[in-house]
Symmetry: C2
Subunit: 224 residues, 2 copies
C-alpha cells in the first residue's frame, strides 16, 4: 500500500513527490544542474544510490528524462517536471516566511558557495576578470577560504587559491553570509553592526554587495 487510496489530485501529486529528497532533486534540476555529479554537489548529504533511485522514479513518473549528450548522461525536466516550478516556488516562499531560523546543522560552506556561484548577477560585475575572496570565520581551515572568479560572463568558485589578484575581500561568519544570501539580513545592516567586513579599494567595497547574488526567495516579504 504505497498510495493514499484517494482520487484527489493533490494526493496523487504527493504519491509522486512526498518521498524524502524527491523535490530537492527537482529543485536542483530547475536550477539548471543536469549531470549526476552536479546534482550530487547540490545534494551533498544524499547518497548516490538514493539519487540514482530517485532519478529513476522521477523518470517513470514522466517528470525527468535521461538522455546522452556527447556521451554524458544528462537529466532534464519534461514539461510536466518544469511545471513543478510552481510547487517548488510556493514551498520556498512558505519556508522563507515561516521557517526563518537557520540552525548550525544546516550551514554548509560548500553548499553556500555553490549557491553563491550560481546566483551571481554576472552583468553587475566589471568586464575583465574579477576575483572576490571570502574568509569564513569559525569554519574548518579547508573550507574557510573561497575565491569567486568572474570572467568572460562566467562565474567560478574555488576553494584553493587560483592565484589571481584579489579585487576585494569579504570577511564574515558562515552563518552571516548564509543569512545575507537568504535575505534574512541585509548588507547594510550587517556592515553596520560589523558582522561582515569588506576590504579593498573604496569603489570595490561599495560594489561588492551588488555583486553577490541572493537566493530566489530573498525578496519575499516576511510576516510581521
Amino acid at each position: 500500500m504505497t498510495g493514499y487510496g484517494q482520487f484527489c489530485p493533490m494526493s496523487k501529486a504527493m504519491e509522486v513527490l512526498d518521498e524524502r529528497w524527491t523535490l530537492l532533486v527537482v529543485r536542483e534540476l530547475l536550477l539548471g544542474s543536469c549531470h549526476f555529479n552536479d546534482l550530487r554537489r547540490g545534494l551533498p548529504k544524499m547518497s548516490p544510490a538514493l539519487l540514482s533511485k530517485r532519478l529513476k522514479s522521477l523518470s517513470r513518473a514522466g517528470v525527468v528524462v535521461r538522455t546522452e549528450v556527447d556521451g554524458r548522461s544528462t537529466y532534464s525536466l519534461t514539461p510536466c517536471g518544469q511545471e513543478l516550478g510552481e510547487v517548488v516556488d510556493a514551498l520556498g516562499r512558505w519556508g522563507i516566511r515561516w521557517l526563518g531560523e537557520v540552525v548550525d546543522a544546516d550551514l554548509d560552506p560548500h553548499l553556500l558557495m555553490w549557491d553563491v556561484r550560481r546566483t551571481v548577477p554576472i552583468h553587475e560585475w566589471p568586464v575583465g576578470r574579477t576575483t572576490v575572496e571570502f574568509r569564513l570565520d569559525g569554519v574548518a581551515a579547508t573550507a574557510s577560504r573561497w575565491w569567486l572568479v568572474v570572467a568572460d560572463g562566467h562565474a567560478d568558485v574555488c576553494d584553493v587559491d587560483p592565484g589571481h589578484e584579489v579585487t576585494g575581500t569579504v570577511q564574515t561568519s558562515l552563518s552571516t553570509l548564509t543569512r545575507i544570501w537568504r535575505g534574512d539580513v541585509g548588507w547594510a545592516t550587517a556592515l553596520r553592526d560589523g558582522s561582515v567586513a569588506v576590504s579593498g579599494p573604496v569603489d570595490v567595497r561599495a560594489a561588492i554587495p551588488g555583486w553577490i547574488g541572493q537566493g530566489a526567495k530573498a525578496a519575499v516579504p516576511r510576516p510581521a
Copy 2:
C-alpha cells in the same frame, strides 16, 4: 539525521511537510474539517494513531493549533498553516494536469460522496428541501445508494434512505462520477455517451448538473 542539512528555504519546508500524509491533513483542514473524526472521514486509510501523531508534529511546527471549543477538540490552521494553501493549490493543479488517470484503487464511494457534499453549490439549489439520489453501478450494495439532501442552506449526505421524496436520481458508475467531480469529463459528454443517466422531472434533469459541485481543480486547463 532527519533533516536535509540545507539552509535552502524549500528544504526547510520539506522537513516539515514531506512525511507521508502530512499535506493531506493540511488539505483537510483547509477544506474546513476541524474535528478529529471529520479529519478521519477525509483520510479513511490513515490510522488514527498516525493522524494523532501528524497533528502533534504540525502543532509543534506552528502550522496547527488545537483548542477546546464547547468541550470538543478543535484543530485549526494558524496563519502559517493557512499560507500552505498556496502549496496545496500548486500541488493540486499539477496533479490534475499531469496525473490524470484515476486507477480503481483510488476510487472510494464514501470519499467521493463526502467530497460531493462539501462542494455542493448551495445557492444553486431550490429553496425548500431537495433530495437527489445516487445509484452507483458496480459498487458493493452497502455503498451503492446515496442521498444528497439540501435544505435550509445546508447539505447532508446519507448512505441510508432518509425517507424523503426523491427529487431526482443520478445513475452512473463510481468511476464516471469521480471523473465528473474531478472535471476530467463534462456532464454534457457523459450524458451524451450514456455513461451517466439522470431521471426525474424534465426541469430537474436539466438542473442536476448545476447542483452537483466539482472539485476545486476541475476547471484547471489540461495539457494538450
